[in-house]
């Protein structure tokens, strides 16, 4: 068995992932409660009301910059970290083949997925790369989106200064609109990310590899050499997966469509009035839809917390077992 089955991230990476998720969720909840305030008035109140919500958003923005600077520094000077960059770089030939084969697989014209598409489900390291083409895409897209959101967020931090610097108000409005539109795009991506990693049949409801570091994963010592398989076959599908995946999938689709429509219907921001096509914040279905989308984010937050709870339980269990073993060993 290799660490690919359940764990492929170090402790720093898993901790960073959790902190990044918490910070990004805070940015989303504060940002979207402003953007979709008609539909998410209750969230705006929870996030500090009209006088506190943007202060919280800016504090979380600084948090994101701190986390990013830490991560970049760590990737550059951390032991063995620079090699990770190679794993993220696209392998054009294989990644493209994997994508084409995935399309064929969905259409029933291929028997199995390409190795470069196998992100989960118990393959060994000599069979699949560290990151599938989907995994690489997620990292690239989130990295680019977060970078652009940070840059545009810093630029619109002080709008009077920005207007003075560019000698025009249009620059401030352009960056404001860009920041808002990119936020909506990222919201859709995060919803998909939550669904992708929260509802995989083998790991539902959370993929523990995101929370438990590979050195803490069971069986990594290869002590059970006689065991055939990678361990994936030991997992069982939870009975609730079937209805949960349908419910989660529907919520994600409704959420994505609703925030897209909401960004168009909420005239003026972030889409100019001239491009609006009707509707409005009083639309009940839109209000429900956008709330469903935000509930998907809450689900993501919940899963992140739950993953860390499972990690804490697991680590406690490992410590207890080690103590028991030490005690019995000393008794002998």
């Amino acid at each position: 068995m290799t660490n690919l089955d359940h764990g492929k991230f170090t402790r720093v990476t898993t901790m960073f992932h959790s902190l990044l998720a918490l910070d990004v969720f805070l940015l989303f909840f504060t940002g979207y409660s402003v953007m979709f305030n008609d539909e998410l008035w209750w969230l705006l109140e929870l996030m500090g009301g009209n006088t506190g919500v943007l202060a919280l958003h800016r504090i979380a923005g600084v948090g994101l910059i701190v986390l990013t600077v830490f991560w970049i520094t760590f990737m550059i000077i951390g032991p063995g970290r620079r090699s990770n960059f190679r794993a993220v770089l696209p392998d054009l030939k294989n990644d493209m083949q994997a994508f084409i084969q995935d399309v064929k697989f969905v259409l029933g014209r291929a028997d199995e997925r390409h190795p470069h598409a196998r992100q989960f489900a118990g393959y060994t390291s000599d069979e699949v790369p560290l990151l599938s083409y989907v995994g690489k895409g997620v990292i690239f897209i989130f990295a680019v989106e977060l970078t652009l959101l940070m840059v545009s967020g810093l630029l619109i931090w002080s709008k009077p200064s920005l207007m003075q610097f560019f000698q025009t108000k249009a620059a401030a409005m352009a960056f404001v609109v860009f920041h808002g539109l990119l936020g909506v795009i990222m919201l859709m991506g995060v919803m998909f990310h939550i669904f992708e990693h929260g509802f995989h049949p083998a790991f539902y409801p959370v993929e523990l590899k995101a929370f438990i570091s590979k050195d803490k994963m069971p069986h990594t010592d290869h002590s059970d050499e006689d065991h055939e398989g990678t361990g994936i076959e030991l997992l069982t599908l939870r009975p609730s997966w079937n209805w949960a995946v349908n419910l989660g999938g529907a919520a994600v689709v409704i959420g994505i469509v609703s925030v897209l429509l909401g960004s168009i219907f909420d005239e003026g921001y972030p889409v100019p009035r001239e491009l609006t096509i009707g509707g409005g914040p009083t639309n009940l279905l839109l209000t429900i839809g956008i709330n469903v989308g935000v509930l998907v984010l809450f689900l993501g937050l919940l899963l992140s917390v739950y993953g860390n709870v499972l990690r804490a339980r697991y680590e406690r269990q490992v410590r207890a077992e080690r103590r028991t073993a030490e005690t019995s060993h000393s008794d002998d």
Binding site: M35, N37, T51, L54, K159, A172, G268
Partner: protein, 228 residues
Amino acid sequence: MSTDQNSMQREQMSQGVMSVGEGTRIFPDVEACIDCGGCVVACKRTWDVPPEEQRISISTMFEGQEAEKPQLNSNSGRALNQGEFPGETSFPMQCYHCEDAPCVSVCPVDSLQKNDDGFVEVVEDLCVGCQYCLSACPFGAPQFPESDDGAEAVLGGGGIMDKCTMCEERQHVGKGPACAEECATDAILVGDAGDIADELDKRDAAPAFNKEAMEIIFGADEARAFDL
């Protein structure tokens, strides 16, 4: 000038405040403005506006300079619309309660609302201090007096936006906006769009804003009443 001529002149010119109430518009006659600051004082005195904030301010450009064409020296509005150098020109800048208000359009939290009676109002309980209205308003009307205070100064927020109300409360009791009532040269015109257009015609003055800005302030239909 004879007494009869003076009398005729008075009949031709109206007071700055021509009508108040629903549908009232406010608009500057830049040729009449002499940058005396009377409107600023009237506004501050009426509404106890603090020193660091100005709901109305006068922007004077090309101070001490003459227009390139002498015949346009006394008509900055016409000069600007013809693309000619206007010479010294003073603009009383305030919220014009635009028909097609960009601030209302960009406000993400609907704190800025264009009411049925034509006033653009700030709902303080909704304003998050994002300053998008500041970016959108072509006339620099939005003010953020709390932006240098406490947490706002540290975090770069704007606090709650404040701007000219066109003295809505005064208008409800039949009075004109304090700035216009106080203006010694009647440079701030208050009335419906037709009144303002007629008054500018009487004064042989032209609006100092271009067609695009006039359509924002008055809407495309009413902007046609002006000589653009």
